[in-house]
């Protein structure tokens, strides 16, 4: 926990902090048999610390199953963390009373991955977007429809789409409806869990641009979760890389792209398809093997089983997250 504390003293951004995650750990019990005896745990997230500042877009990247979505869902209080602390504007989000939970939830909203599963198929668009407005009295009883029309306009849809059902829209349009629904709560932070990975490539850029525009307009901050570095590259100011429940590298967008430190980050970079002239082509390295099971994560550095630079020490000793440059953090023995 020592390193986490150290980590947060890192800069003078304190007053700008929107969200602080400290030592977040989430283990899912595996139950077996009639009595539901716990036979093990899935170590989905282990000791992740991360902060998001006002107006910032943080990217959270990693292979599927590395725990990045779990982090997002813990932030939204959809999951109860096993350990660690999540503070929103300096206030611990655990143990909020009922009224404060409503307030907190209105400030952090989520955009989901699958635009086909994220909209209730039996509700019209005006109810999907307007339900929060009516339930939480975010608009007058007579003007809520105008508010919905306004939100539809904000995300690039038309007001007459209100009376339709979700199945009448394309994937990209549905994702816009999901964004409008999140905006209806007037949030300050939006957690976007793989916001474009289910969409056609041609639509992806549209949605990412929309997110960028909305950020300006509504003074938002984002946590963008993605498995694809190329997606995050477009919009993130800082990028966090996760591997098997651990945060392995955290740096500004530029630093991470120009000078990736962790062997895992480098492998991810090499995996991005690039058009390069033949003469400048570097040797690319791709990872071998599969991600180990999160039920029994490898001892020492969790990446040592696939790391091209693994040493004897990596198998035994767990590396800690170290500061090695200007706000550049890495969890690797190479930089001890």
């Amino acid at each position: 926990m020592n390193q986490a504390k150290h980590f947060h003293d890192e800069s003078g951004y304190r007053e700008n902090r929107l969200l602080e995650i400290e030592g977040l750990t989430k283990h899912f019990p595996i139950r077996k048999g009639l009595l539901g005896k716990t036979v093990g745990h899935v170590h989905a997230v282990d000791d992740v610390s991360l902060a998001i500042n006002r107006g910032e877009t943080v990217g959270l990247v990693g292979e599927s199953g590395c725990g990045k979505s779990t982090v997002g869902r813990c932030i939204l209080k959809l999951y109860e963390p096993t350990n660690g602390k999540i503070c929103y504007k300096g206030k611990d989000i655990e143990g909020l009373d009922k009224r404060n939970v409503v307030h907190f939830r209105s400030k952090i909203q989520m955009i989901f991955q699958d635009p086909y599963a994220s909209l209730n198929p039996r509700m019209r668009v005006r109810d999907i977007i307007g339900e929060a407005i009516r339930v939480h009295r975010l608009a007058d009883r007579h003007t809520w429809k105008e508010r919905v029309a306004q939100l539809l306009d904000d995300v690039g849809l038309q007001a007459d789409h209100m009376v339709r059902y979700p199945h009448e829209f394309s994937g990209g349009q549905r994702q816009r409806i999901g964004i409008a629904r999140a905006l209806a709560m007037m949030p300050e932070l939006i957690v976007a869990d793989e916001p474009v990975s289910a969409l056609d490539v041609s639509i992806q850029a549209q949605i990412l641009n929309l997110l960028d525009r909305l950020k300006e307009k509504f003074d938002l901050s984002y946590l963008v979760i993605a498995h694809d570095l190329a997606v995050v590259e477009h919009i993130a100011d800082r990028i966090a890389v996760m591997y098997l429940g651990n945060l392995v590298e955290l740096a500004s967008d530029r630093d991470l792209y120009l000078d990736p430190k962790h062997p895992y980050t480098r492998a991810l970079m090499d995996a991005i398809p690039k058009a390069e002239a033949g003469a400048r082509r570097k040797k690319r390295r791709f990872l071998q093997g599969d991600v180990p099971s999160p039920i029994t994560p490898p001892p020492g550095c969790r990446f040592h089983t696939r790391c091209p630079e693994a040493k004897e020490m990596c198998k035994k000793q767990v590396p800690i997250l170290r500061l090695i440059g200007d706000r550049h953090w890495v969890r690797c023995h190479l930089y001890d």
Partner: protein, 299 residues
Amino acid sequence: MTATAVYATPRRQTNRIRAILRKAWHLRLGVVGGLIIFAMLLVAFGVQWITPHDPYEQNIMQRLLPPCWMEGGVSSHILGTDHVGRDLLSRILYGTRISLVVGLSAVVLQIVIGVFLGLLAGYYGGKVDSIISFMVNVMMGFPFILLAISLIAVLGPSLQNIVIALGCTGWPVFTRVTRVETIKLKEREFVLAAVSQAFSTLRILIRHILPNLLPSILVLGTVEVARAIIRESLLSFLGLGIQPPTPSWGMMLAEGRDYMLMEWWLAAFPGLAIFLSALGINLLGDALRDVTDPHTRKD
């Protein structure tokens, strides 16, 4: 579809009729089912005006008459008469009322109990789920007939008590379906979105989960109406249901049993009535599922 829409303006009226006909053809089996149910409803409401005879009127001189088209049949008794000379057709028509009332009310009771418990078990999980699932398993493992007999024995045979007995024994299927669907639905992203928008659990269950359960409940419900009608017949057949002389299909089947070899119509026609009503309800249920599912609905 598009082609007709283009030419729709000048002859809107005819096209509208055509569209309805096309839809009806698409759901033709459902239409057949609907017509059967509609006929049953008409009979149930207007039975006192359409029956040729009083269903309770006995006439020993004319007992065990065959249907009118057979040798010895009388044109005034279209389906013949039973062992005390009551008109079979009139009794079958009156039986419709009993069957519909029992079938529908029993299933409404089943749905109220079953869906409520299923939502609780599926949404809360853990201990609540364990207890409710245990109850379901006990109920499913217990022979229906035994349970219904004990209930009727305690409550006494009457129309109301048959409904209670059928309702209290039939709900586990609804709990099972509701529970499984709820478990699936609560992990769906639109439910997570509702949670993250700070809606109350009650609102999430009623506005977000329940409407998405309706197609399954509707389809299961229609099948269960048919089943409840059959079970009512079964109870009446055993003498635990509707008490004579009130006409019930099951009881008529039981009375006809003794004459099955020679006077087969006494058992065959009530049996046919049970079969037709169950078939009609099932066909209608299938069509209803297609219509209510927004994915297949075309406006």
